[in-house]
């Protein structure tokens, strides 16, 4: 009853035999041991399990692993590739956009998708984009600040060629 799937996770091809009912979040956490993706509610409300599938934020608790077959998945573990923090990571720390850290990976991935679509978002754009990601600690004030600050950093970075390469990696 196993299905063979191949998913490109953080740039690496991963092939595995999985049960058809296996959730993508469990595939990432249990099979690949990428535990930066968290589970908070099981019902697609909290967004702690958000990953990027082909660049789009997806709640991995509501997607089957088999549905990700042949696709590109990005998790939080890929953001600081090469040891350099992604601007969104640096901004979350700098602006105190996290406390317990449980929602943070999902928040950052959703923010990255927003900034790719809208490099210069308004506060309402940010709050609307993040409304599917719940944080119980921060009250969102500093998360919004972090996304704004990352937007500025990423725009500046995009203006220089070597930084553009780094930004493209995300």
């Amino acid at each position: 009853m196993g299905h063979s799937i191949t998913v490109t996770v953080n740039g690496e091809k991963k092939t595995a035999e999985v049960e058809p009912r296996l959730l993508l979040v469990h595939f990432l956490r249990e099979k690949l041991r990428l535990t930066g993706t968290h589970i908070g509610c099981d019902t697609t409300h909290c967004g702690a399990c958000t990953v990027l599938v082909e660049g789009t934020p997806v709640k991995s608790c509501t997607m089957l692993a088999v549905q990700a077959d042949g696709q590109q998945v990005t998790t939080v573990e890929a953001l600081a590739a090469g040891g350099t923090l992604h601007p969104i990571q640096a901004a979350f720390k700098q602006e105190h956009g996290l406390q317990c850290g449980f929602c943070t990976p999902g928040m950052m991935l959703t923010s990255i998708a927003l900034l790719q679509e809208k490099p210069d978002p308004t506060e309402d754009d940010i709050r609307w984009a993040l409304s599917g990601n719940i944080c119980r600690c921060t009250g969102y004030m500093n998360i919004v600040k972090a996304v704004k600050s990352a937007a500025v950093q990423m725009k500046t970075a995009a203006a220089t060629p070597e930084a553009a390469t780094a930004a493209a990696r995300s």
């Binding site: 700098q94 996290l98 317990c100 119980r136 969102y140």
Partner: protein, 784 residues
């Protein structure tokens, strides 16, 4: 891009948090991230009924599922005397049901399997034959004669009454009321809600059958206290129990109690000889673990014609669910509710509380609150609002008229608290100025003429946090002190080990800063460790805003203890008399010649290499701190709302929050705590509700029904501060993690009542949803 922190980390420095480096990389280590070799998985079969006798349980089909190792029932636990466990309030709670279920979602049986999916499949195959009994879902009905007896297994329990408790002086209060010009009354219900940290509760229990050592990884806000309770409940030798509380994804009181799942997983690991993991899902979290509030409150305030408060009388009825499992100090049956006189100089007060069993989940945890302070703060601030409306006074003026004045501290309250310090008029003035209060009152008057509804809510809260003193305050007999152990290594780097446990509050940064301030070691060089009972000194844990008041004080005191020894070593190094040595921010020098000095790093090295004759080597120490009093953070919150008469929708236009939590260790972290607390207060005021139908079905069992604020609804907050240090705390800090959740619900609701009070609407119970507002408006003919 690197994040640099140029500051050393003294008190008052908003250095960036040390713990963030792992969290932003997805490298935290939360409970569910833990995987041990051979680990098994547990799933719980729960009751669909709120009240039902179990006639039989058939586990055959479940046991036959490939991969199932064991099915655990109450009968099996009873053989090991583990079917029942004590609660934090001196009651008992079923671990797994042996007789009848007493709330929907109660734990009936557990499956242990090699795979979590298999465990869940098998749990669903357990067949239970129930005889359904009538459910009791309100404390009022529970106390009626003839109500079904919920705790029929308790010897001597003939009804559903749990406790009666009083505080204050009844005779004096009655006298104050007899002399009053006016009495303002308010009956209000603070509904059941749930802390809902984003990470649910869980355990990995690993008992080594060869050595008998139990390593329990648990989402625990109080690992040391839990170790002791495990030793008592399970009969395990305490030295063989090691509780490790890893990174916690939010607690807010939810992770203070011991839950049946922890006990069963531990028993299963003991019986099977393999590690067992149990992590609850969100519905399990909402329907079975520590709820909060569920308090019915009747308040009466006696006033003079001039608006002076003369007395306060409160009757409470708490709905405790099926087991009395409030997490609170033993001697205080309604927690610290008797702080209900709040920020006001009220000469007489009396509180009477009763508790009742119902067929609902047990709990009564202090959800981001110091033991029922939230309910107390809500009641007094709502009463003052209504008094202002009835007496046609401005809600800010009536407060200013009645505040405890700065020169009255230390202030002895009518119910026996000794407030340490405060300046309430100042905090209020800062808030009023920041909001532009008078201008907004003018706008409100203009709008009212046009029939538009706008309200300005005021709440001036005072909390009581940071329990002990141990003599008065204990949890299950354990005195509420806390501890810090500091080890300074030869190279001048240090490890600080604490009895408290962060769940996101930033202890790894802020407690290092206390060491920086006291010893001069940069915060970056101080590693803070918590949560491992084998490697940290005993403490009561983190809840009730006690980490900074108690654990923070212990940190300051142990640093000072080491500083004394360091001074002796410095005298030796500087060839001077100890009496002539002075210390300033990490440097020891001979009085009058600061150029000739030794750094704390020099001294630390000497502590291992070059000691005065006869001195013990090392620079290490431990302190157990029992606070002489609690601390009393306070503040004023102001909220502006606009209400749509056509839909009842309340829009929060502005919110100003002025907090005084004494000295702020890391202002950035303090503000973050307040932002989060305000958001939870907003959620409680307008959204979060756990309620039940007549059969006891929980109607808030997932995030579709139990609404939490997202970035979209949450208001933008405007922050302000005053600083009134605590006179008895070594660094003057008071604790801040809960102030905003305690103080803000009343500010939000008062804003709504301020908008509609002139129409004769004087109360709408939380959560203040659009439909309730519209119905209230419709009733008085003011809806559109």
């Amino acid at each position: 891009m690197a994040v640099e922190t140029p500051l050393k980390g003294n008190i008052g420095d908003s250095i960036r948090r040390k713990e963030d480096d792992r969290f932003i990389r997805g490298r935290g280590n939360y409970l569910d991230d833990i995987v041990l070799p051979g680990m098994l998985h547990m799933a719980i079969h729960r009751s669909p009924f709120a009240h039902a006798r179990i006639k039989s349980i058939n586990t055959e089909a479940a046991s036959a599922v490939p991969g199932v190792i064991a099915v655990v029932t109450g009968a099996l636990l009873a053989q090991h005397k583990l079917a029942w466990m004590p609660t934090l309030s001196g009651d008992t709670q079923a671990v797994l049901v042996t007789d009848k279920v007493r709330f929907q979602g109660q734990e009936v049986a557990c499956v242990i399997a090699t795979d979590p999916y298999v465990a869940r499949d098998a749990a669903a195959l357990i067949e239970v034959d129930y005889e359904v009994l009538p459910a009791v879902v309100s404390p009022q009905n529970a106390l009626k004669p003839g109500a079904p007896l919920i705790r029929d297994e308790k010897e001597g329990q003939t009804n559903n009454h749990i406790y009666h408790w009083e505080a204050g002086d009844k005779a004096k209060t009655d006298e104050a009321f007899s002399k009053a010009d006016r009495v303002v009354k308010l009956d209000t219900f603070y509904p059941r809600c749930h802390p809902s940290p984003l990470e649910t509760c869980g355990i990995v229990a690993d008992i080594n059958s060869a050595t008998g050592h139990a390593t329990l990884y648990m989402t625990s806000q109080a690992p040391h206290a839990h170790r002791t309770l495990f030793a008592i409940v399970a009969g395990l030798p305490e030295q063989n129990i090691r509780i490790i509380s890893p990174d916690i994804g939010g607690g807010f009181g939810n992770k203070v109690p011991i839950y049946p799942g922890y006990v069963v997983a531990t028993a299963a690991s003991l019986l099977i000889g393999k590690p067992v993991k149990w992590v609850e899902d969100r519905s399990e979290n909402l329907i079975s673990t520590g709820f909060a509030r569920d308090f019915h409150m009747s308040g009466e305030m006696a006033l003079s014609n001039e608006g002076r408060m003369l007395g306060l009388r409160v009757k409470l009825l708490s709905d405790n669910g099926a087991f009395y499992a409030d997490a609170q100090p033993t001697k205080f049956k309604a927690g610290l509710f008797h702080i209900v006189t709040g920020s006001y100089d009220v000469a007489a007060a009396h509180v009477e509380a009763d508790g009742a069993y119902t067929n609902k989940a047990p709990g009564g945890v202090a959800y981001r609150c110091s033991f029922r302070v939230t309910e107390a703060s809500y009641l007094i601030e709502r009463l003052v609002e209504n008094a202002a409306i009835e007496m046609k006074m401005d809600p800010a003026d009536i407060r200013l008229k009645n505040f405890i004045q700065p020169d009255q501290f230390p202030y002895k309250s009518a119910t026996g608290f000794e407030y340490d310090s405060g300046n309430y008029p100042k905090a209020m003035q800062v808030a009023l100025d920041k909001l532009g209060y008078q201008e907004l009152r003018k706008e409100q008057a203009e709008k009212r003429k046009k029939g538009e509804l706008m309200g300005i809510g005021v709440a001036s809260f005072t909390e009581v946090v940071g329990a002990g003193p141990g003599k008065q305050y204990d949890i299950a007999g354990l005195r509420m002190f806390d501890s810090a152990e500091l080890r300074v290594h030869p190279t001048g780097k240090a490890i600080l080990k604490l009895g408290v446990k962060s769940q996101g509050q930033g202890h790894e940064t802020t407690f290092a800063q206390i060491v920086t301030e006291e010893l001069g070691i940069p915060a970056a060089d101080v590693e803070v460790q918590e949560g491992d009972t084998d490697n940290t000194p005993y403490g009561l844990g983190t809840y009730a805003s006690r980490s900074t008041p108690v654990g923070g004080a212990a940190t300051a005191m142990v640093s000072r203890k080491l500083r004394e020894k360091a001074k002796k070593i410095a005298a030796h190094l500087l060839e001077a008399s100890e009496a002539d040595i002075e210390f300033d921010h990490g440097k020891f020098f001979v009085r009058g010649s600061p150029s000739k000095s030794k750094t704390i790093q020099d001294v630390a090295f000497a502590a291992y290499t070059n000691l005065p004759d006869g001195m013990e080597a090392g620079l290490e120490g431990v302190t157990y701190y029992d606070p002489p009093n609690m601390t009393y953070p306070f503040g004023t919150y102001l909220v502006v709302v606009d209400i749509d008469r056509g839909t009842g929708q309340v829009k929060v236009r502005r919110m100003v929050a002025v907090d005084d939590c004494g000295v702020r260790i890391n202002p950035m972290v303090v503000e973050g705590q307040i932002h989060g607390g305000l958001t939870e207060g907003f959620g409680i005021a307008f959204m979060q509700l756990i309620t039940f139908d007549e059969e006891g079905n929980c109607l808030g069992s997932n995030f579709t029904d139990y609404l939490l604020p997202t970035a979209w609804e949450t208001p933008r907050f405007e922050m302000g501060e005053t600083v009134t240090p605590s006179p008895h705390h070594p660094i003057g800090a008071k604790g801040v993690g809960e102030s905003a959740t305690v103080g803000s619900p009343a500010a939000f609701v008062n804003a709504v009542i301020d908008a509609v009070g002139h129409l004769g609407i004087t109360n709408i119970d939380m959560p203040v949803t659009s439909d309730k507002v519209w119905e209230a408006l419709n009733k008085v003919g003011a809806a559109e």
